[in-house]
Symmetry: D2
Subunit: 315 residues, 4 copies
């Protein structure tokens, strides 16, 4: 704290980062007539000794964002794309170790998945089964995401997914809550519970000396546990369901230390059909857009530190 009067204290630079965002890279691997596809959206953010470019405009320490874009495409050739996580690790290591002024690199990746288009003539409606060689349809369900951060000595890997919409048509209640003068909500003993899952989980892998997780297998397993916990929990509140989803992952997947969820309560309101002389026995719902309940929490392996930011929106 300085003794200058407040208004005389100058502006100084604090946290800063830069890079090329949303590099859309598609990598085709040909195994004879059978092709494989990886479809990523890669964002690079670098930080380090960057005072001068802010204060004077000198770019002497600045690797152009255009170069970071070129590096993404070159690395897709040089290293291939085994998984989004592995690809991000290659990139982060490169920027930090090859450019002296760059102290930290953070790579964010979105991955879009594809399924093969079937080509069986006998039943065209089964198109989508996995027997084609070079033809794909984008799955369009969740978007897989990962964020790799490297500071030259340790790694942080946070993976996750977003846009996965799930719904239970029963086994959800909501009652016994606080009532104040602004409360008008009726208690519910059988309601629809629906949400659009945004989840991030942090790996215990932080050091090149540790064995690396199998990123693809881990993703499939975590996703599966999360969906099963959602489906199997008899829910008294969305918070309870959220906790079960996270706890299931912590219990079954040793490589995960922490999970954070942002779960909008996608309200499905039972429509009042009585004015029309009809009884609505949990059959007809209005799916509302806004406003929506928003439930967010971190589930942690006991003894670990919570490091995933509170706001997931662009993580």
């Amino acid at each position: 704290m300085t003794t200058h009067p407040r208004s005389a204290r100058p502006a100084v630079l604090a946290q800063n980062q830069y890079g090329k965002a949303e590099n859309r890279v598609v990598r085709i691997t040909r195994d004879g007539a059978t092709h494989h596809i990886k479809d990523l959206n890669v964002s690079v953010a670098l930080s380090g000794d960057m005072e001068e470019v802010h204060y004077s405009g000198s770019n002497a320490n600045v690797l152009p964002t255009d170069t970071t874009k070129n590096t993404v495409y070159a690395f897709a050739k040089e290293h291939g794309i085994e998984s989004a996580e592995q690809f991000g690790i290659h990139l982060a290591r490169h920027f930090v170790t090859s450019q002296e002024p760059i102290k930290t690199a953070r790579i964010r990746i979105e991955e879009y998945s594809w399924e093969r288009i079937g080509t069986s003539e006998t039943d065209p409606s089964s198109a989508g089964a996995e027997d084609g060689g070079h033809s794909f349809a984008r799955k369009g369900q969740e978007t897989r995401v990962t964020q790799i951060t490297y500071d030259g000595s340790s790694w942080e890997v946070i993976s996750g997914l977003k846009d996965l919409v799930v719904l239970n048509s029963t086994n959800s209640e909501f009652w016994g809550y606080v009532k104040d003068k602004y409360t008008t909500l009726k208690e519910a003993y059988d309601r629809i519970l629906a949400t659009e899952v945004s989840a991030r989980w942090r790996f215990d892998w932080t050091d090149d000396e540790q064995p690396m997780p199998d990123w693809e297998e881990s993703y499939a397993q975590v996703r599966g546990h999360m969906l099963q916990a959602f489906a199997q929990t008899y829910s008294l509140s969305l918070q309870q369901t959220l906790y079960q989803m996270g706890a299931r992952i912590i219990e079954h997947r040793d490589e995960i230390e922490e999970v954070r969820f942002s779960l909008p309560n996608k309200h499905h309101f039972l429509v009042d059909l009585e004015p029309f002389g009809l009884k609505n026995d949990n059959e007809v719902y209005f799916a509302a857009d806004r406003p929506y309940g928003l439930i967010e929490a971190t589930i942690l392996r006991d003894g670990c530190e919570a490091l995933i930011p509170v706001d997931l929106s662009n993580l």
Copy 2:
């Protein structure tokens, strides 16, 4: 044509329509512990003797848009939702036959599909298989659409889909085109062909006396033929692929008279890696957003009339 001077000719009302748009209705059907879900977005547009409401503001002939919304929810109970098409037919018939001033009803429906969440404990990563009872994940691939129009005597049913992204990683060329002074494009002998399919097909069913198509089966079959034609066509241009997709439907599905496609060419540009001393052997692509080629055409059963509008965007 009147003989008044142009500027003295008054304003008159021409085509007009009104109704409630985007009614989000979810219908749960319970078959014991196994639930079924239909998830629709229903838009109602009515027209008829509506001069007065425009000229004087008299609402004497106007059924409120709020009432058309209520009718959607009431009909979900009264008639159930067997298919989007059948549901639209119930609604259109109701408005035209129950309200004298309403001469035509047009119902547009988007349908979002869901898959069951599996609950097998043995392999959580297989969640998504169909063994759950009341738990669902939104599929998130294409959106199914339909438009039902009824004028009191005949029906027009146009169904389709949008947002279905498909890609062939080979078997596509583009060469032999016109070159003018603004042409710089290099010919391509092995390129990625990708598009986001927007398609609409019109049924031959127009009359209550005709047997009604099996709307669900028809959709599955048309979708399958379309995908197979996309996958199996060795393409010299996206136009050729488009035609094959439409012709396959016309050849295999007697109930369809006409198909229209709007196919953006989702360009995947081969990245030039030579500056980095690397060879790009059809492996690394930049997936571009804008601009994009846009290829649109109607494929017609010979002798039928083309009735699907040229612009599909909100059809």
Copy 3:
């Protein structure tokens, strides 16, 4: 009509068009230290003798969509961008007159407007006033649009706007409507009327022999009349307001033959505060998203033909 059995009738090509969509072109004109900016999104659609490219894949008649993109940029230099309409006319004429197989060209343009950033030191909060030379802020209100169609002999010019949100906080009623068994709506004698204007108007200019309208002045005047009619109409229904907006244009602007509106009724529902012991005297509203009333109509100069398509969404 052929005498072949229905299923034996082959698929044939009907209406088709192609071109490059969404070419984003920004044109800077330097008048000393004062710069001017035009910011357009240009989509080209060409049609003509294109059977072969669909049937056999021969591109012999196909000017590449990439070339149509190049032409947009080259013309921004060669002809400048006086107005979106004039620019579209240059492009459409070029494609139809320079390429024999091309019979019709349709150019669609979106225009984004900018205002100058003021640089007066004395009152920084007035930034936005028009005294800067090369610094601009995007206005962000409506998007101006135009569509130019040319078939080698006559022109059709349809201009308009979209995304213009307007609201009257009083002088709107809704009552005296039809009531059926599904009607629950209460009559309203003082409500908010709000809509997001999407409008298109067609010019009487069709022939190179006619004097061309002043496109910029016409746009400003039509927009102004439309807004004033919205503001000044005491409204008994949104249809009545719509008609007044169109009629005002027809009455005041001789160059316009036809106007079409698509007006979503952006519902603002008075919130029931009585459960909290509060009276809501038209003060507190819930702005709803979906569903919404959708009112669409064409207002025509008497004796003219209605040519604007019913669906405006991507027109």
Copy 4:
């Protein structure tokens, strides 16, 4: 840290919050025939003693999100909406002081601004000037935002804006940067500099004992300084422009301790017209979407602590 083996360590709850998001409230204030409008999107997030609802599903400490929604609407009547900041302060204080289990409240607000529709008959194209009484057009430029956090003793107020697109058509260069093996970018000595400003600034007001800033005046002034710094900086890098924007605010506005920017570099690439025999003298540009440079930094009053999160996306 426990001595249990890793996999035996149970899942525990860490940071969590809940509430109703995106409550759309419009408040009309009538001053005779002149009405005033405030248009907000309010999101409530509460945290406190919420273990039980996560672990067992007991809602005994849970004020329903529906109640938080009701409170937003009731407070719009009870307190009016003087400014978004003041409204958020009323709400946050209420939740923390009226519900024992709630320890912290965070209110996020987006504000949409409106301008009056002019009604002068003499020049309809001037519609938009401020002479109307109850008719408004949404301005549509930036969205104003604020976030109020209260823990029962101290306040944090972070305000800002997003979606403000600005462009300098000259006075921007980029050269003298690092070149590695992946660098292909050409140096630029006169380029367009454009960005979509997302900015957040934190107030020094933290205590009810301090005099409260004039939130409306502060916003207008901060916005103005930011725009002027953008317009007046001769830029050697977007980082330099960013720093000038932040420093100008710190220098002129005593009530601000910290500013953070997220500035995408909206690339405008000079189109190569030489293949067409044309010279592009900084006249014709291609406005690109993705990828884009992304420059982010915090500018701090010396001696203050940086508290605005690194990621602004939903702040």
